[in-house]
Amino acid sequence: MPQLLQVRQQYLKNTPQDWEDLLKPEYKGKVAMAGDVLKSNQSVMTVFASGLSRSGGDKTKAAEMGLQFWKEMNDAGNFIPVIADQGKIAQGETPIVLEWDYLALANRDGLAGNPELEIVVPKTGVLAGPYAGGISAYAPHPYAARLWWEFVMSDEGQLIYLKGYAHPIRFNDMAARGVIPADLAAKLPPAESYANAVFLTVDELQASSAYITENWRKVVYGE
């Protein structure tokens, strides 16, 4: 369950801490997404998370308010439409990138200090992008599969996911119990920032995704 985060580079004087900070004039031409809203679910969720921050956590208004947020972003000239991959981040074209935390952390490790990246979890509008797993009803050994899921859900199994920077579903509980090794925790953003992560149901995901992609061009670019 990774969540939306930001990447920062040495080009910025101040690190933005929350979504609203990104609209400040000092970030003109500096904010990019890691994907295209019409092609990448990650960017659709970026829009949703910004709206979630505005609506104070109200999921029903988040899609609409998110589009409004990006309209303001685009009108202010802060949004650059280039897709921020590792190359553009390294080159400096996209000083602030909005993407899932596991990708941001992987970029930080991949670029290995050239340039130095700072990963920030926004104070509000922290959204989880859940992945689901299942057991096939036709599995030849369904009980073996259940055992496997027992393992995945155990502390040990969950830590394997965390090592790949994907925050596992029991992360908050494990952080509270202090079972996350210190060296691993040091590589991650502070555990508290994940405490209020918002989860969407499949229906909410589909409805918001359809609303955002349908209205993106109209609202944000005013076409």
Partner: protein, 306 residues
């Protein structure tokens, strides 16, 4: 061309007194060299076109529908995309044609040193094929917000190119990027055509009392017109179908038809291949019309050459 040649050989054989009518075997052998052509045309031209046509009427669940075709004319986003695609293609085709022609003229007939000509043709050969992700990144890295040139102007002259509201992430910016592969193609094709202008024609014109203007208006320009038209159409198609360059440059920020098609086919957000195919069908239709226009114009332009 191949067919005419074969027929001619068969006929000339027929004129010979001892010749027998061509046997079935020779007819097959005569057609054999054309096989690669037909195979190529079938696999890469006809099959994809038929597939695009058929699948344009496919709904998301695989049934038959007219919705996709209707959407082309009713959904504002799609109508806008065709407008933007056409605008950018026409502008960069004409711009590339004029600029490329003048450049080719300067290099071939402008009396510049010979070495420059070799350099120019080599450069054009490379640049006309330089497109897609590398081209987009090259422009971002030089003229983008953190681009080399942008930063240099800032630090050396304190000029902020974004002060006047300019950004390369715009239709103007994308047109500049497209021009980078448009004009070298024009140079590449026009150079041989300009080489084909014989010096004697100019001299003959001068002998008959014609001025330089007369030479260009009545001799050189009409001779060059078919290749000028043909290359401009080529440039139009070149820009019209460009996808990777535009997408790598600014995602779906600029509403182009190929980008809309991409959004329907790839990614994990939108998925309606039928609609993608219908959008492609619209592009095939526009290219078809421009090809017909080109053929008609070229026939008229080349009439006296026959």
């Amino acid at each position: 061309m191949g067919i005419t040649n074969k027929t001619l050989t068969a006929q000339s054989k027929g004129d010979a007194p001892t010749a027998r009518p061509p046997s079935k075997k020779t007819a097959v052998v005569n057609w054999l060299p054309l096989l690669p052509f037909f195979l190529f045309a079938a696999l890469f031209l006809f099959l994809p076109s038929i597939s695009i046509f058929v699948r344009s009427f496919e709904s998301v669940d695989g049934g038959f529908t007219f919705d996709n075709i209707i959407a082309l004319f009713t959904v504002q986003d799609f109508v806008n995309a065709y407008k933007t695609s056409l605008t950018i293609s026409v502008i960069t085709a004409l711009g590339g044609a004029v600029f490329g022609f003048l450049l080719a003229y300067a290099v071939i007939l402008g009396g510049l040193p010979k070495g420059l000509r070799t350099f120019m043709t080599t450069f054009s050969g490379v640049a006309s094929n330089f497109a897609g992700v590398p081209l987009a990144f090259a422009f971002i890295a030089t003229m983008g917000n953190a681009g080399l040139v942008t930063r240099w102007l800032e630090s050396a002259f304190e000029i902020d190119i974004h002060a006047g509201g300019f950004t390369i992430y715009s239709i103007t910016g994308l047109s500049i990027v497209y021009m980078y592969f448009q004009f070298p193609l024009m140079v590449l094709i026009m150079a041989p055509a300009l080489d084909g202008l014989h010096r004697e024609w100019n001299e003959a014109c001068a002998n008959l009392g014609g001025t330089n203007w007369h030479y260009w208006r009545y001799i050189a320009f009409p001779i060059l017109l078919p290749s000028l038209l043909g290359t401009t159409i080529l440039l139009f198609g070149n820009a019209f179908g460009a996808y990777a360059t535009a997408y790598a440059f600014s995602g779906s920020f600029i509403n182009l038809v190929p980008i809309l098609i991409g959004a329907q086919m790839q990614g994990d957000v939108l998925f309606n291949p039928g609609l993608g195919n219908a959008l492609a069908l619209g592009m095939v239709f526009i290219m078809g019309i421009s090809m017909i226009g080109y053929i008609t114009l070229q026939r008229r332009a080349a009439r006296w050459l026959r």
